[in-house]
Amino acid sequence: MKTKSSVLDVAYRSGHEKGLVRFLARPFYNALQYRELIRVVLGRELHQRFRASYFGWVWAAATPLLMLLVFVAVFSNTLKVESGSDMNFALSTFIGILFFNLFAELVTRAPLLLSEHAHFIKKSIFPSEILAWTSMMRSLAYAGIGFVIFLAFELYIRGGIPPTALLFPFILLPLFLLLLGIVWLLSALGAFTRDISFMIASVMPVVIFATPVFYTSLDAPLSGRLIAYINPLAPFIEMAREVLLLGRLPDLLSYSIAWGVSIFFFYAGYAFFMRFRSVVVDVI
């Protein structure tokens, strides 16, 4: 049987004698190998969420749309923000909220991810590591709706989108790796104790203030800036604001650091998950 071979395929096979190449290629090779399954599981989840509703995807769009309308209404009348115009503040906050919601949804769900799919994991030969991919893609689909609404608003209110917005995908790329790593880490831990899930639920409302959602790290006092440096989400929000709103290129140093941190989390999370994968079956 001949299967489609790809660059990754070759990298994986030729990496046979080189441990590092193999290690680096493995998560991607693995996802590629199970792409059909990822597709089906993802389709099932997206489908399932809106199955018993009349308006389906409209609901997914309603939340960010309402949120943005409220922001614009509130911020343009009551709050006077020093830097930039009011509308900018509403849009800037909206970007923060989009990123935070994406993060919060993933992180809240991650500890329960394996027990949610226990029927697959226990009853069939199921590669549970793909659940991180499907979970992330699902959340991205919702975030994508919010993003389209954001672009439409920006176009309407400001009459244009800065050309640097084309660079946005390059900012998302390391973010995906970071999120995948975090999901792997939390889902493996969450299978062993429910405390992880409770902890995240109680910490999340605090995290939103430790993330530059309603402010930018530049405005924040020193302690705030310090928190923003530790928070791995912060640089992504700042960079997204720069390319999407301000029309500036992000600082190369912080971009590189973001990549470094993301790659670390990605491989650490994957290695951690794979180490405990076979044990997880017996505890969920």
Binding site: R44, H47, Q48, R51, K122, K123, I125, D282
Partner: protein
Amino acid sequence: MSSEWVIRCTNVAKSYQIYSVYDHRLLQMLFGRLKKFYQDFWVLRDISFEVKKGECIGIVGRNGAGKTTLLQLICGITLPTHGEIATRGRIAPVLALGSAFDQDLTGRENVMVGGAVLGLKRSKILRSMKSIQEFSGIGEFFDRPVKFYSSGMTARLAFAICAHVDADILIIDEALAVGDEAFQSKCLKFIDDFRATGTVFFVSHSVAQVVKLCTRVIWIENGRIREIGDPKEITENYQKALLREKDDAKRFHIGN
């Protein structure tokens, strides 16, 4: 002959870790090398056997004897604590049929998910869809959510999927219990035909089915192989034992 085995278990043992406190799992995960936070519950001990191509192996035993765990081990879903399991060929695990179905999805959609989980390509599933629908014989319910199915219909759909998986080893756990006679005989015929190219592992509480279908029977009791051999002889001994040794309330105990 001895080189033709497709499944080989050597001294396989499996213990589940029983925790008195739920959160000791996390402690065990983090500090497992320093201290043991659990008690062992030995589900299987000293399991050794070889299965050759084309055999149909029946497994009998009381509840909690370790039948399902043995199947899970062979599939590679869970790992043995001791010993070694080697398999040759593709395994289709049909453990507890239908329990993996998504209640909100239709039968057709569940075929897509189930097929993908069993490792089928999308194009292959789509090609076999009509044949799966026919085999299941559930008519228009095929396009209704599974939550409106009767248990018999669920089992029919589940078996229909398995009947379309390309596999060398078919592993079936109490699959036919709820189907009616007509459907059962259809499944039995399928299993019989399957043996021409593959090997079947079959757990059932129906002695009649085991005798009819299997070439060899393994009788598991308290996690050990009590007897292994000719279906007729062993199922007879098993049934006699069931009458003699009454249901024992202290059977499920933890520790050594």
